[in-house]
């Protein structure tokens, strides 16, 4: 007996068995992907309808409708801001530059320190008191001091550094300490010296954890740079753009700036997440 609706199901299934879906020979995977895509689209449409409805209901310039924000979003890339002479590309580059500098500094310091703290008890005992004092302080709390002490150029970069440093450090330490003792014992049994153990066993095994730290740290880094640019920055920046636009009451453009941050944050974390998954897979951790 044919169950109600099963005919439609068969019809849908036959679509997936056709070209190009079957080219990859994984019908179920494509079905799942299609389902995810449909749910994602429904979710986004529902979000836009809710936003539009709330905007109509509130009837205030503080909550413009999606269409107005979309138009402003496009304009920010095409028209130079009369206040600063910059368009959104310039602001994105300014923010990205700061994030990358802060990230590079954090990477260069947190990874070696984390490896040392995870590997050597003496290094851990020496560094831990200072690290534990500073780690609980929210990075954004440093913003006013950093910008006054280090200036509007270096201050935001150091703020990103603080934001990325601690999650990266914690993950590296955790990675070193998560190494299977059997691996270390086996290496020692085979005659590996301490330096060999570090370079051949510990360092490679920690890479997936470093990637996780990078992914988390970059997310926090974005929050920090926007906060820093709210207070002061030179050379533009998406945060600075938002604060200036809020100050002059152009809330459609403020929302456009928020959309840019959301997209950049999403791209950054998705990209680092993708690299993390690839590395983990390669290291046999997935």
């Amino acid at each position: 007996m044919d169950v109600k609706g099963s005919g439609k199901k068969k019809e849908r299934a036959s679509i997936f068995s056709q070209w190009p879906f079957n080219k990859f020979g994984n019908e179920e995977k494509w079905q799942q992907l299609f389902k995810t895509l449909v749910i994602t689209i429904i979710s986004l449409v529902a979000f836009l309808i809710t936003w539009w409805g709330l905007s109509e209901l509130a009837d205030t310039d503080y909550l413009p409708d999606p269409e107005t924000v979309f138009r402003s979003f496009i304009d920010t890339f095409q028209i130079r801001d009369p206040l600063t002479g910059r368009n959104m590309w310039d602001n994105i580059m300014a923010s990205l530059t700061r994030v990358m500098w802060g990230f590079a500094l954090a990477f260069a310091t947190a990874v070696p320190l984390g490896l040392a703290m995870g590997f050597s008890k003496n290094a851990d005992d020496f560094s831990k008191p200072v690290v534990e004092v500073f780690r609980p302080i929210p990075p954004i709390a440093w913003a006013p001091i950093m910008i006054l002490a280090l200036g509007v150029l270096l201050g935001p970069i150091v703020l990103v550094f603080i934001g990325v440093f601690f999650p990266l450090l914690s993950n590296v330490i955790f990675g070193v300490r998560s190494i299977d003792p059997i691996l270390s014992d086996a290496a020692r049994t085979l005659g590996a010296k301490r330096s060999h153990l570090f370079l051949k066993v510990i360092l490679p095994s920690t890479i997936p954890y470093i990637m996780t730290g990078i992914r988390i740290g970059l997310g926090i880094g974005w929050m920090c740079i926007v906060a820093a640019e709210f207070i002061a920055a030179t050379g533009g920046g998406v945060g600075q753009y938002i604060v200036f636009k809020a100050e002059v009451g152009r809330y459609d453009q403020v929302y456009a700036g928020l959309v840019v941050i959301a997209i950049l944050g999403l791209l950054t974390t998705e990209l680092s997440g993708y690299i993390e998954r690839r590395v983990s897979k390669r290291m046999g951790m997935l």
């Binding site: 009369p82 990358m100 509007v152 490679p204 600075q240 200036f244 002059v248 009451g249």
Partner: protein
Amino acid sequence: MDKKIAIIAVAVVAIVVLGIVAITFMQGDSDEKVVYWVAVAPIDQKAALAAGTIDGAITWEPYASDALLSGSAAIYKWSEDIWEDHPCCVVAVDQDYLAENEQIVLRVLKVHQVATDWIYETIQDTSSDNYTKLLDLGAEFSQRNTSVVASSLEHMILTYEITSEFEDWMELITEKYIDLDLIENATLATRGYDSVEDFVDQYVNSSYLAMAEDIEPSEEILNEDDPVRIGYLVGDLHQFARVIAADDTLWGGNKSLFEIYGVATVTSEGGPYANGGAEMDAFATGLVDIGYLGSPPAILKHLNAGVNTLIVGQVNTVGSAIFVDPEITSLEDFYGKTIATPGPSSIQHLMFLDYFTSNGFTVKAK
């Protein structure tokens, strides 16, 4: 890890780092006849100058006098030398509140008049007890010493009357914002105004001040259970009249001037505010009934964001300054220098743009 992957990884990192370095160092401009601006809150400007982050700042009182008397800065120009009698802070009122509470608004305006007149009379005799008390109150409010307050009082004109000159300046400011594209031309029509002149005619209303003239002190508090929520800016001595009106040691009977005129007041939630833009946002969210703030943010947020306010009185004219590193003594010394402004919606920012562009400078955001 494969050697190949390691090489690619190193190459990618090297390219990224080189790119960052290139972007960072290729952003420089020729410093010829260029002056840069950066937004720094007035309260932080003196420290930013000391840290070498900026070369000067344009700011309001007491921060200009504070920088001057600290010895680390020199005043390049007082604002009255840049723009004679320029407008600055105003009293704005929420239009819905005004419609339902006109008597309260009139009483607050009367208090504003009396307090302003009292300050004006008091500063004529700097040896009087009232003058000493005035300085103490200013010092407490602004968190600066009495010398800074005294210097501030010398450089600002506290007032309340809405003059035709003030209305002309409001038109000029609005036109400048339209020229700068900070207000779109179509916005005037969107808000129901035919022209800039029509906007100022409707948005600036002197009739309430005139009506307030007749208000007398009252034993009865009109709004005992529903105090009027007054917004003002952090430590801004332009708004000194409100400070002394709220004090209950100056007027006798342990009453504030507001109480003497039968009005209960309270500082609005979230206040005092860092700048006029933030105060206008508080107006928009229904937290402020009557506020002291700069006229430019009032104009910008009324037109751009539809904040339903009305300007009903002046608070001060002039009272700002450009303070600089003492090594800057002439216009030529500003080449390539960075000057902080309180932000793009301030009258100080507008003055800064106007002063340097009219002197042949290209003004750029840093």
